[in-house]
Amino acid sequence: MTRTLQITRALMTAGLLETLRRKDLYVVLILTLLLTLGASAFRAFGVQGLEIFVKDVALTAIGVMTTVLTVLIAARQIPEEMQRRTIYPLMARPITRGQLLLGKWATATMTASLCFVILALTTLGLLLTLGIGVKPIFVQYVLLKLLGIGWLCAVVIALSLYMTPAANVTLSLILAFGSGLFGRLLLMAHWEHDLSALWLNLLYGVLPHYDYFDMSKKVVFDWDLAPWWVLGAMAGYAVLNGGAWLLIGWLRFRKQTIG
């Protein structure tokens, strides 16, 4: 366990240095700047009566940006190492493929979380500047999103071991943005084709649900804090379902020819 942590820490440190030097965070800073400019426009015209609209736009924007960045960051973790052949000296060390997979997942989660936290804090600051307050549920929104980022990284990294980078990014974005539609589509199937309730529930449970990790609408409409056990349950879902995705990835990676 200590050894796995040491390996994960080493990979995360190198990953963070790479992220800073490849200027990934510049993208986040540019997006932040755009948010600020957008907010300035609101400031110029006034936001009286538009508080809900402004919060909705801001949180939707950071939700979309975070999802896209998370998918792009996670999708390149292992394929890029293979492509530039840096995987050879990495795997020549006394580390298992499972440890490498775990280290890469941790690196992607840390990097994407960092981007999200910067965006979330900037947005919060801008909203406060405009005189728009948020309730304490914002903290739960951030925590749940961080869980979602970890879960999404597991899905994307697992898929990256089965398909080309372009196919992986496309499918992952469809899964991330389309997961909210699964429930509605299944209900439509139930009504139109009389799909049994058992199959409906089974299918709904099996399909990935990134939408579970989004509390933005509750922040927008100033809900009170959700019970903390809900976040605990979501953490359980993220660990179990994300762990299952990593396991699926490992099943492929453990026997895969490197290079």
Binding site: R3, Q6, I7, R9, A10, L11, T13, A14, L17, E18, R21, R22, R84, R85, T86, Y88, P89, L90, M91, A92, R93, P94, I95, T96, Q99, K255, T257, I258, G259
Partner: protein, 253 residues
Amino acid sequence: MLPIEVSHLVVAYRRWFKPPFCAVDDLSFVVREGEIVGFLGANGAGKTSTIKTLMGFQPPTAGTARIFGMDATDARARQLVGFLPETALYSPYLTPYETLRLYGELHGLRGRQLKAQIEALLEAVNLSHKAHTLNKNLSKGMLQRVGIAQALLGDPKLLILDEVSSGLDPIGKRELRDLLATQRARGATIFFSSHELAEVASICDRILIIHRGRLIAEHRLSDLTGRVESLEDYFIRTVQAGRDILLEEANAA
């Protein structure tokens, strides 16, 4: 315990709508402790596939590959091995120092021991002055030196080097020879592939020649002295014939 023990190794690659391509075919050999063994063959002979199997990158289709008695796919076996891949690239966004720190930590080294080893290795490969320059700004030869340094991290008992002198200038090659001699002096076993036959002749104890995935010749270099014109001449004639010409001559006599 033998550093390398390969027994009836077969490595075949599956292809769509075609029969599998057999890169290594029933290959068996051993490397003993303290030896320097040159692994020779023309392009596509199966050298890299064999080395990939020894490093656990490629599972064998049949047969076994063992490192110090452990299966080559066992991560623990790599604790004792230093590896230099052919045409390796290192993360363009890290410096040589950071690259070595990453691999050192993955190797289980840490703290002052790791720092001291990184500094000593950068000095040994003559790269101290570029220790904090990003890898993307280094020349191919300098990157090869980074590769050599990372292979030596942790004082490995076995060095597996694929195309070791690729990209090095004559000075670099001389330094590499000295470095390998130092490694040998501390008792390391060295197994390497190279197309530089003069270099092989100058440092090897023994050579293995493979052709189309099969071992066709195995000799101590001292046995070749006086029997062949040069290693290059012997290698070319053997590979062209597809069999060991010395053995053939001995049988004919």
